[in-house]
Amino acid sequence: MSKQKINSKPSAASPLLAKSPTGITGLDQITGGGIPQGRPTLICGDAGSGKTLMSVEFIVRGALQYGEPGVIMAFEERADELATNVASLGFDLEKLQAEKKIRVDHVHIERSEIEETGEYDLDGLFIRLGHAIDSIGAKRVVLDTIENLFSGLSNQNILRSELRRLFHWLKDKGVTAIITGERGEGKLTRQGLEEYVSDCVILLDHRVVNQISTRRLRIIKYRGTLHGTNEYPFLIDEEGISVLPVTSLKLEKPVGSKRIPSGIKAMDEMMGGQGFYRGASVLVSGTAGTGKTSIAAYFANETCKNGERCLYFAFEESPQQIIRNMRSIDLHLEKHVKSGLLKFQSARPTLYGLEMHLVAIHKEIKKFKPSVIVLDPITNLITVGSMGEVKNMLIRLIDFLQEEQITVMFTALALNTNVTEQTDEGVSSLVDTWLLVRDIEFNGERNRGMYIMKSRGMKHSNQVREFVISDTGLDLVEVYLGPDGVLTGSAREAQRIQEETGEAIRNYAVTRKDREIVRKRKVLESKIASLNSEFESVEDELNKVYEEEELRKEVMNKNREVVTRIRRGEKLDNTPKKTSKK
């Protein structure tokens, strides 16, 4: 809630209270812009909680990023020791000192060397500090750890009044100061410094839970401004301190409808042919050896092939191991690693606590700017936290990734074969797409089946596909759904062969029938031909009779004519012809 306020109005607070940005990743976000400008801030914590580093980083970042020179007054470490200690964070104190950007003054107090007699004050300290500030025009001051004065000087009354005067004096000087203090029993600091510094108090904590330590930071008090009140984990590494602000729990993230292919064509087809939504979270869960990592590697490979960056967090295997193993399924990841598109980040989960993992992931993402990340597997994180904690962490991670529009693929090992009832690490409700790979044990062999448990906002297949891993890669094969139920593996092959045989026999039968038909037709056709010729001969016969009849009729007519003419006494000129004709 507090975070929400910070997000909404970081600038509105500044006219009320000027803030000095620390430059420490995340801290400025929590404090809404930094620590109070021109006022002292107390950083307290146990030994080794990072007080000195945080204050030195404040000075160095001020000098480098904000052009504000700073003075470090070290009561514990010598200047050269301090320089060596922070060199591991990439801070070159000696160079900065030479450039007059910072000044380190070591205050050495040795009880055995000092005798006290009578009244005194700490003007010497004031003068030294004042001189240091004036000599480089410092705007920032760190006093680390001023409590050492109490071990060096015995007159508590003088010390307390002088400290009060010192903090007033610092305020008058207008410098932004950090005072560090060792944590005491029942109070924030051993000497009760919090009485004097009342504007801003930051508590650092170093806690070990289940043998895993996590550094945390909490702002106990920040007068005059809104601030995050939670405990925030922070990380110290070669780039300094990063604080992880718990990302907002508002659900107002931008959503796109762009898709990103999974690398397995058949899987994309199961999801409407286009793959996942960009910025979505995908969970691949399954029992051991079901090919979760292979799916993840395929996704990573596909992303790199499309020229996008992919960050692969491996919690189980080393990068080399993954690359080698993936080569066996014809997936060559090393070229993407070489081209810089793919980056492996391998760490045992027990390396640090969950929060630290989250911080580390955040940092890597900010640095590498991938469009896809893979976490393989999240189940291993259980070893460093309870189910609830893991879920909590993942919620925040998903939240952050969605804000950045990064697609994430988690793999999760389902210990229970009865997966449908189990919500994996409790994240199944958070993820957008849940792919389930499971064993199908049948007919004396084990096969992999895959289905989409859910996929928000897209049409997806409800079928169980057989998931085949071969030398040439991954593929999804439609399982055989027949009268005998679902068949996979060799049973499916057998069924397929059986079907092919049936097909061949059927084909053969069909061709035989065809031939018979042809033959029948031939027979019939020949019959028709003979009938035709028979008909013709009959017709001929009939025609002949008919013609004879006609001829006879004609002859008879002629004869009658002749007879008639003879009777009339006409000359018979044609008679011989006609008779001869006859």
Binding site: D105, V107, H108, I109, E113, I114, E115, E116, T117, G118, E119, Y120, D121, L122, D123, G124, L125, I127, R128, G130, H131, S135, L149, G152, L153
Partner: protein, 95 residues
């Protein structure tokens, strides 16, 4: 104690002419005259004029008396009102 062999170099750091500084100087002068006649040298450094000198001798409190010679360096802070403490602190008389 073979005082005659030793040369005493004392430095008194003050910040302006405050009553405490004046008292410290007066007291110191008195003790030295009593115990180290002719063998000592007192240098008074006003940090208001030379603030850069404070760092060298690790000065915190004002006034501070530093015994530079003989070694080892000893420091006494305060107005030096307790004579015995000063003399023991400076190793002028044994404890």
């Amino acid at each position: 104690m073979k005082l005659e062999e030793k040369k005493w170099e004392l430095r008194l750091y003050v910040a302006g002419k405050t009553p405490k500084s004046v008292a410290a100087f007066t007291n110191l002068k008195k003790y030295c005259e009593e115990h180290l006649q002719g063998q000592y040298r007192i240098e008074v450094i006003d940090l208001l004029e030379n603030p850069q000198l404070a760092e060298g001798d690790q000065i915190l409190a004002i006034p501070t008396l530093v015994r530079k010679v003989p070694e080892p360096i000893r420091k006494i802070i305060g107005d030096l009102s307790n004579e015995e403490k000063v003399l023991v602190g400076l190793n002028i008389i044994p404890v």
